[in-house]
């Protein structure tokens, strides 16, 4: 998966929980939860969907490494490569 594909996937999953938000306008370093105003429940839904789509298992201890778009892309790229 390329960075662009990962970005599109993340935007797609964010759109599902926040239909009125515009994930395309997210800047890479913006805290995602603030930017699209989602709670811990919807954030968990997004992570579950991303985990299922990429096959990357995300331990709870890593949630803190997934707060911005840039961090998410890095995280999944790194773990996809390891696999």
């Amino acid at each position: 998966m390329t960075d662009a594909e990962l970005t599109r996937l993340i935007a797609h999953e964010l759109q599902k929980v926040a239909p009125e938000a515009d994930p395309a306008s997210l800047s890479p370093d913006q805290p995602i939860r603030e930017a699209v105003d989602i709670d811990s429940f919807d954030f968990l839904r997004v992570l579950i969907a991303l985990s299922e789509a990429t096959g990357v298992e995300i331990p709870e201890a890593d949630y803190g490494k997934l707060t911005t778009l840039k961090e998410m892309v890095h995280y999944f790229r790194a773990h996809l490569t390891v696999r």
Binding site: D39, S40, L44, R45, E52, E60
Partner: protein, 382 residues
């Protein structure tokens, strides 16, 4: 008469619009079966049958606006008794205003009266007016509205048509709460170290799809504390305090675009964290999509509002009538905490109780917060 009536799906509901029937005449229905879909200010609700029986007739066509308490269908129960759509809850509109027996008689109404009645959600069926030949006039509507609204000493404020339906519903319920319920508030800071450590250990063994959120631990501890102090679990109806045994917790869910709903999670004190998390995974998306069941709208015996990790430090809530207590949780924050003469840093939550002073006093409320603290220190107990 085995009448199936439009249920009151909350303290704030006056009427609902039938969208579709999910049963047909001749059909046998069981308790909990979905009978109809009704559009309310809080979204599309699946109306469940409260008792088993056989559908004899449907009296309302899809598209019709039906007052709370008005007849929708005839469902003959096995014993011949009238099945109810839901447990009785006080309705903001008194029974006398809702449809009486459907006589088929044409009601004469002045245009101004009809417009006012529509704005106030008053059903004109079975009402005798003071005009010529019993015609209903504007003054009749104002008189009826004054009886219907508990607020009405004189003036009646029609709901603002410009408001979103969900805001109208919240405005009605919260105004009623603050008008009728003398709230008292208590708050305690609770050390969440033990609860979060337990949760971390539990979640390490789970894949991401099965992980538990802190809200589940808070809900479970609240239910156990209510079991210890049962007078906070139940209702204040018709000047009487009515505690109940079952613990069904309304859980406040913020809706995207504003507003909130607090559907009930049933028998929270008897369920595991995994079971409760599974229910939340089902309930929260349905609440946000506006697709709840009538039992979820009516069964809550107390309400929990949790700010979550993005919210404010503490919350003092407004009780949802006719309940007598609301438990609030702020966000969990690392804070200085004194223990055995030393100051340490601990994850701390501000837990609050808003309770109805007609039903209970602060001494009892404090016992509840103590019990809540105790249960949050022992989250592993089954």
């Amino acid at each position: 008469m085995p009448d199936f009536l439009m249920p009151s799906l909350g303290a704030d509901m006056a009427a609902g619009t039938l969208v579709a029937w999910r049963v047909a005449p001749g059909q046998v229905v069981a308790r909990g079966d979905i009978v109809a879909e009704v559009e309310t200010e809080k979204g599309l609700i699946d109306i469940e049958c409260f008792e088993p029986g056989t559908v004899e007739a449907l009296h309302v066509a899809p598209g019709a606006k039906v007052q709370v308490g008005a007849r929708m269908a005839t469902i003959r129960s096995e014993g011949g008794a009238a099945p109810k759509a839901s447990p009785p809850l006080p309705s903001p509109v008194t029974q006398t205003l809702t449809a009486g027996p459907d006589t088929g008689r044409r009601v004469r109404v002045s245009p101004a009266a009809r417009a006012r009645a529509q704005a106030l959600g008053i059903d004109l069926a079975g009402i005798a007016g003071s005009g010529p030949s019993g015609a209903i006039e504007l003054a009749d509507i104002d008189r009826l509205a004054a009886v219907a609204s508990p607020a009405a000493a004189g003036t009646v404020v029609a709901p603002d048509e410009g408001l979103a339906p969900i805001r109208r519903a919240i405005a009605a319920a919260m105004s009623r709460s603050k008008r009728e319920i003398p709230h008292y508030y208590l708050q305690s800071r609770i050390d969440m170290n033990a609860a979060l450590a337990w949760l971390r250990r539990e979640n390490e063994q789970r894949s991401i799809t099965d992980r538990i959120l802190p809200a589940v631990v808070l809900l479970r501890a609240t239910a156990r504390a209510l079991r210890d102090v049962p007078v906070l679990n139940g209702y204040w109806i018709d000047g009487q305090h009515r505690p109940v045994e079952e613990i069904h917790l309304g859980f406040a869910i913020a809706l995207r675009g504003g507003g909130l709903v607090a559907p009930a999670l049933h028998d929270v004190d008897r369920k595991s964290c995994d079971a409760l998390m599974a229910e939340l995974r089902d309930l929260i998306p349905r609440a946000r999509a506006g697709r709840l069941r009538s039992s979820e709208m009516t069964d809550a015996t107390a309400t929990v509002t949790s700010m979550g990790d993005g919210g404010a430090e503490s919350v003092l809530g407004v009780i949802y009538p006719p309940q007598v207590a609301l438990v609030g949780f702020g966000r969990i924050l690392d804070q200085p905490w004194a223990e055995r003469g030393a100051v340490v840093v601990r994850p701390v939550i501000a837990a609050s109780l808003a309770a109805d002073h007609r039903a209970t006093d602060g001494h009892l409320g404090a016992r509840f917060l103590d019990a809540l603290n105790r249960h949050l220190q022992t989250p592993e107990q089954p």
